[in-house]
């Protein structure tokens, strides 16, 4: 098993780039002050970022003591990264710049029950289209981050799970997409990517959990700005914690899993089991589309739809309280396309239960928030993983030895 991922400090180049994303223009002296690192360390990191073309010197400012300070500026268009997030039911691709801004986005056809041999070439073609439409050529792009189900072997770039179909398990996913696009590919757990995508530079509270709800329910944990991954890139499998120890066995083996009560698939299965309700709500058999229909009906006052959403919010709230009690975090961020319309209803239900039931509520506040872009944050996080991998590589920005 690999290291758990939360043990190392961010490398200096990554720290400096984050500060530049936060402040846009900054001097080396300010960087040293903000990080507590020495001038020499900062100068070395800045030199690497200038060599990479990520940062330019853009003039000088006078300090209070009159010494001129050269100002540094992030070059957000110096390179771009692609992020793709998918599960069985939905897929989305984004292109982000160095500042983390989304410059292009596109929904991709969901894999459904198809095997990777069919899906990967389709993803590759659509990513190439997306880059062309954004006016980007291959040399402008650092790589592709691909966020999906755990468990995973991130080093090997393969999934260790038979989702969406058995053919995905052990399939050389990263290698196949890399070959089809000519770009390096890194894989990432979708909920972890959601956590990375929900971060903002300069966040004063870089410790938080995310709840990621798409077809299923997952979660992620960011500790001091870095993701907690667990042994097999499968921290945190929130959907499969039990909220009913005497409940039915889930396909995962556990009893009374919250995903089987609260998840969009469970909610829409229940809705479709009532033909009159299914007809009234116009359900079509696509869990995420149908979940939005149930949610819209609930919001419009349909009592049966409201009851289904109520069962989901209550069970998810119990699971989130358990997660907060285990992790002692002060913030929970909701991410994922299942929250696209009904996010505020879930946010309020979770906040109410957290305020009522969390063990530490008398000691510190626990805020439940909706991510700014619930549908794309995981894809954005996957894209940012590509940049992080570059910045965390030991030789980033090293000049080639002179021969």
């Amino acid at each position: 098993m690999r290291a758990f991922g939360a043990d190392t400090r961010l490398p200096t180049v990554a720290l400096v780039l984050d500060l530049l994303r936060e402040r846009t223009t900054v001097s080396r002296v300010e960087l040293a002050e903000a990080t507590g690192l020495t001038r020499a360390t900062i100068t070395n990191a800045v030199r690497k970022l200038i060599d990479l073309g990520f940062v330019h010197e853009v003039g000088t400012a006078r300090s209070q003591r009159g010494t001129p300070r050269r100002l540094l500026e992030l070059q957000p268009k110096a390179c771009h990264m692609v992020g793709v997030q998918f599960d069985s039911y939905a897929a989305v691709a984004v292109v982000v710049d160095l500042a983390g801004a989304v410059v292009a986005r596109r929904e991709l056809p969901a894999p459904g029950g198809r095997d990777p041999d069919a899906v990967v070439p389709e993803f590759a073609a659509l990513v190439r289209d997306l880059l062309a439409s954004a006016g980007l050529a291959r040399p402008d792009v650092l790589g592709i981050g691909l966020a999906t189900y755990g468990p995973q072997d991130r080093d090997a770039g393969v999934l260790l799970t038979p989702q969406p179909t058995p053919a995905w398990q052990g399939y050389p996913l990263a290698a196949a997409l890399a070959e089809a696009t000519g770009l390096p590919v890194a894989i990432e757990n979708d909920a972890t990517a959601a956590g990375i995508g929900a971060q903002t530079p300069g966040d004063p509270q870089p410790n938080f959990a995310v709840v990621f709800m798409s077809g299923g329910i997952g979660a992620g944990l960011i500790i001091d700005g870095r993701p907690y991954r667990g042994a097999t890139s499968n921290g945190l499998e929130l959907g499969h914690i039990s909220v009913d120890s005497e409940g039915p066995r889930c396909v995962c083996g556990n009893r009374g899993c919250v995903d089987g009560v609260a998840g969009p698939v469970a909610v829409t299965d229940r809705a479709r089991s009532d033909p009159a309700l299914a007809a009234r709500l116009g359900l079509v058999g696509d869990p995420l589309a149908d979940f939005r229909s149930v949610a819209a009906a609930a919001a419009a006052g349909d009592p049966e739809a409201g009851a289904l959403i109520g069962v989901s919010t209550r069970a998810l709230a119990v699971a989130v309280v358990s997660m907060v009690n285990l992790l002692d975090v002060g913030r929970v961020v909701l991410v994922g396309n299942a929250f696209a319309d009904i996010g505020p209803v879930y946010r309020q239900a979770l906040q109410d239960e957290v305020d009522r039931a969390v063990f530490m509520r008398h000691v510190h506040e626990v805020r439940v928030e909706l991510a700014a872009d619930v549908s794309c944050a995981a894809a954005v996080g996957a894209a940012m993983v590509v940049l992080r991998n570059l910045l965390e590589s030991p030789n980033v920005g090293d000049r080639p030895a002179e021969g």
Copy 2:
């Protein structure tokens, strides 16, 4: 809120001391090879440890190339640390040496419903006795680690919880015990201390969770050898995750908490509610003593006692599966005096359910283990916190500036 604690690497002096605990005798070259650090960094750390008296040079060995290497040896008796772990129902103190070996131990009177003004002087007197009986004077002792309930403010040395009685909340616990003993005092979450105490130097799997069961149920998480603490030294509140979302409200605010089903207080409350059973088992009203009686009767084949233990093991197993699904760990260690006799029964029940129900079971094994010393590991961990705090202080072993 303070940093979450799992973000920084172990300082070099701590790494070197851990290697010396593991190997007893080692050369600087071997230390550099084992850590991947430079000779200069190792030489500096070793110099600090020699200055502290923790390490001696003990002769030379010839390397394969014939260069003599000076051998370093840990001096386990160079100093000692005291660890105290308590809750309402039980308290224990240990003295450990630099190698982490227990050189003295003693049960202390449980606080019960008493206020800290009564308990702290008693603890202080008994710790002084314990040190005297071990032949140790104050200068031989680095300090006292005190492990108990979270949430806590570790920096301030105060508890943020009204346990065992309201007077403990905000009481200057560390300062009062320090004043009464003349030794520095650090406080720690008991389950986190259990995790630290369950570590062994050179552990090839330094990522694991502990389940700590004394009067209540807690848990801890060790990531790459360092404890995860959460915002208020209250990671992980395993006892208050819900195993029944429709269950009764717990005093903590959550519903269907596992502590209310599986914990020793719940088990013995249930046993005592049946007067015939209580009489047959000789219950006396002390939850931990009575829990051992119920456990002993269950082991001897008493069906009612067996049923009570079965309810506890099943609920705890469900909670542990949820915890493993969230944390994606490969190892769970059981610690705490509630496991003193019946530990193997719990271990087997938890292993069975983990094997049956954990999400990642097809990808990696999850082993459930009993700690080598279930009753003292948390106190040992508290003692080791004192050493860690010293080794992690920025100026450890620095020579005073020459004037």
